[in-house]
Every structure is written in structure tokens, then in C-alpha cells.
């Protein structure tokens, strides 16, 4: 699987994930209040410096993740050049790139386990109210485990399709695939119940 995390360890890895997320929220909201092109350019420059600080490898892999934005950037720039409001177009584009780049920066420098710890802390009020957050944490773990399993099963189905038919796989393959998913769900649910299930013993 493609990894969205940084190829190198940075100093930001040691910063608390909650603080990084809170900072990101503030920064993204703040970006919408900056309407001066020069100020937006300065912000974008500062973001690029942040990307460059951990070194060349980090910069390259970080910029590669922004490639999906280029079509939008092109459309907006062409549109605003055409309507004669280039400055406004530049502000929109720079705000967009800065916001996404900052968010990616947090994802790149935060381990999955740290992110899940933040979720655990954020769901604490639910536990106080008596709602178990255990179900959520179990569900997160299940998705992480089941995605590669189901990907492998989907590839097996595609292979058996290819072995039997000269034509390309079509949408029809989704039916057996969804059936496999439903049956897997039955088995996993049985296994969970056999191991004590979701409800703690004393509550039964």
C-alpha cells in the first residue's frame, strides 16, 4: 500500500498529535481571512520552507502528494486570467495549496497510533456518558485488518474471472465480491461473540 507518512523521521514526529491537529484547524480557518495576494504568497512560501526543512527526500515526497491539486489550480488560473481578475485567482489558488499542504504535513509527521490515541481521547466524553467507545476502536482495527484481506479476495475473484472469460472483468464481479464480504462479516461476528463479544461479562 502507498504510505502517506513521511519517508524520514522529523522533529515534528515528537510533537503531540492533538496540538498539531488543533494548530491545523486554526491555520486552515485563518487562511480564509487573508485576502492580500502578497500575504498569501508569504504564507505559501513559509509552508514550502516547512517542507524543505526535513531535507530533499521529504520535500519531493511531500510535493508529489500535492499533484492532485494541479488540475484545479490550472482551471482556476485560466478562469481568472480570462475574466481579468488574476489577483483574486492567485489568492484562491495559493490559499488552496497552502491549506492542503499544511494538512498533508500533519498527516506525514503523525503516526497512525498517535492519531488513534487522539480519537480515544476525543471519545472520552462518550465514555463518561456511558457509551462504550470500545466498539469504535474495534471497528477501526477491523477495517485496517479487513481491507487488505478483502483486496486479496477481490484479486482472487478477478483472477478466476480471467481464467474463465476472455472478456475484461465488469461490474458483475462486485456481486460475488459483496457476497464474500457479507459471509466474512458473519464469520467474524461469530468469532467475536465466541471470544466474549462487545459487552463486558459483568453486564450480561
Amino acid at each position: 500500500m502507498i504510505s502517506l507518512t513521511s519517508p524520514v523521521r522529523t522533529r515534528a514526529h515528537d510533537w503531540p498529535a492533538g496540538a498539531k491537529l488543533a494548530g491545523l484547524c486554526l491555520a486552515s480557518a485563518g487562511l480564509f481571512f487573508v485576502t492580500d495576494p502578497l500575504a498569501q504568497a508569504a504564507i505559501l512560501g513559509a509552508v514550502l520552507v516547512l517542507y524543505a526543512l526535513p531535507g530533499w527526500l521529504f520535500l519531493v515526497s511531500g510535493l508529489r502528494k500535492l499533484r492532485v491539486l494541479w488540475p484545479f489550480v490550472a482551471v482556476v488560473l485560466v478562469w481568472h486570467l480570462w475574466t481579468g481578475s488574476a489577483a483574486q485567482g492567485a489568492v484562491i489558488v495559493m490559499r488552496l495549496v497552502s491549506a492542503v499542504a499544511l494538512a498533508n504535513l500533519v498527516t506525514m509527521t503523525t503516526r497512525l497510533s498517535d492519531m488513534i490515541a487522539v480519537v480515544h481521547r476525543l471519545t472520552a466524553p462518550l465514555r463518561v456518558l456511558g457509551l462504550p467507545s470500545r466498539a469504535l476502536e474495534l471497528a477501526i482495527a477491523l477495517v485496517i485488518r479487513m481491507t487488505p484481506v478483502m483486496l486479496a479476495k477481490g484479486q482472487l475473484l478477478a483472477q478466476s474471472w480471467a481464467a474463465r472469460s476472455p472478456r475484461r472483468t465488469s461490474w458483475r464481479i462486485v456481486l460475488p465480491f459483496a457476497l464474500v464480504a457479507l459471509d466474512d462479516a458473519d464469520h467474524v461476528a461469530d468469532a467475536l461473540r465466541a471470544r466474549g463479544g462487545l459487552t463486558p461479562l459483568e453486564e450480561r
Binding site: L4, L24, L96, I140, V174, L182
Partner: protein
């Protein structure tokens, strides 16, 4: 309870896998995938509440940094990109689709699921998606809609496919199609 939880998790994984299987890339580099087919199926098969939860769980994992969106995208950046509105629309779409399939029992399931997917998967999703693009790109609704119109024909086809699949799944595993089974356990 365990079965509901596992179905929600499995459908979150299904949405991810449908986005990862080989796909076509159309204009603007936005990949055409079966990912929103997964969203439609989650609503039509699991019903409003669980279908919406499955999509929310999927989005939570994307936000936590897993590259589960089509084209291997993920992380917090996608929620600030111009297409973020579509992501916000996904759980709402699954909820609306589930609600329609749960309530409208007088017509054949395949037809109901198709119409529900058209309403939820296109009307609701695009409404949210267009608002997202209006905010991120500072455009009017008409301009934003113009950028995404080319994707609608594909989504109409996916809605029909979602309807057919839901009907077939109900025939094969009636107990697992929670939107129609009365077993709420």
C-alpha cells in the same frame, strides 16, 4: 450487536477496496472509480443508520492517514481539497439511500434501491460536492457544477448497478441486507 458492528466495518473496507481496484481516469485527473458505488451499496444494504456509520468510519480512517480514497489518496489534506464536499456528502448520501430503502417497501427492491441511489448518490452527493467547490475555489454554484457535470453519466450507471446488486444480494443473503431484514440484532 456484533454482527452490526462487523457489517459496518466490512462495508467501510468494501468502500476502500472498491476504490483501490483498477479504474479509469477521466478529465481533470479525477479517477472514475467504484468508490461511490460502495457508498450507495452501504446505504442500500445496511440501511440509513448503519450505512451512514460505515461511510463515516471509512472517512475517519482516511482522515487518520490511511490512503483508502481512490487513487491512493488520504490524510487530512483531502478534507481541505476542492473535492472535500463530496466526502462530506458521502455519509449523508448513504443515510438518505438507506432511509428510502427502509421506508419504501411497496415497489421491487431493485427499483427502489436504484431510485434511492440516484437521489442520494447523485442529488445529495453533488449538492454537497458543489458547495465544497464553491468554498474552496470561490466560484458560483453554476461554475462549480460545470466542473463536475461530466461525472454524472457514470454515476447514473453506478446507481443502476447498485440497485441491481442490492436486489441480488437480498435474494442471496436476506438476513444480511439489514435495510430490509426485520432482524435488528
Amino acid at each position: 450487536m456484533e454482527k452490526s458492528l462487523v457489517l459496518v466495518a466490512i462495508f467501510a473496507a468494501l468502500i476502500a477496496v472498491l476504490g483501490l481496484i483498477p479504474n479509469l481516469t477521466l478529465a481533470f485527473g479525477v479517477p472514475i472509480t467504484a468508490q461511490n458505488l460502495g457508498v450507495m451499496l452501504a446505504g442500500a444494504v445496511l440501511g440509513a443508520r448503519r450505512g451512514g456509520l460505515a461511510v463515516l468510519l471509512f472517512l475517519l480512517l482516511v482522515a487518520l492517514g490511511l490512503p483508502l480514497l481512490s487513487g491512493g489518496r488520504g490524510g487530512l489534506g483531502v478534507f481541505l481539497s476542492p473535492s472535500a464536499g463530496f466526502l462530506v456528502g458521502y455519509p449523508v448520501a448513504a443515510f438518505v439511500i438507506g432511509l428510502i430503502v427502509e421506508r419504501w417497501r411497496s415497489a421491487p427492491l431493485g427499483l427502489v434501491a436504484t431510485l434511492a441511489s440516484l437521489i442520494g448518490g447523485i442529488l445529495v452527493t453533488y449538492a454537497c460536492g458543489v458547495v465544497g467547490m464553491m468554498i474552496a475555489l470561490d466560484k458560483t454554484a453554476v461554475e462549480a457544477l460545470g466542473l463536475v457535470l461530466i461525472f454524472i453519466p457514470g454515476d447514473v450507471i453506478k446507481s443502476v448497478v447498485a440497485g441491481l446488486l442490492t436486489a441480488s444480494l437480498f435474494k442471496a443473503r436476506p438476513a444480511s441486507v439489514l435495510s430490509r431484514s426485520d432482524d435488528r440484532g
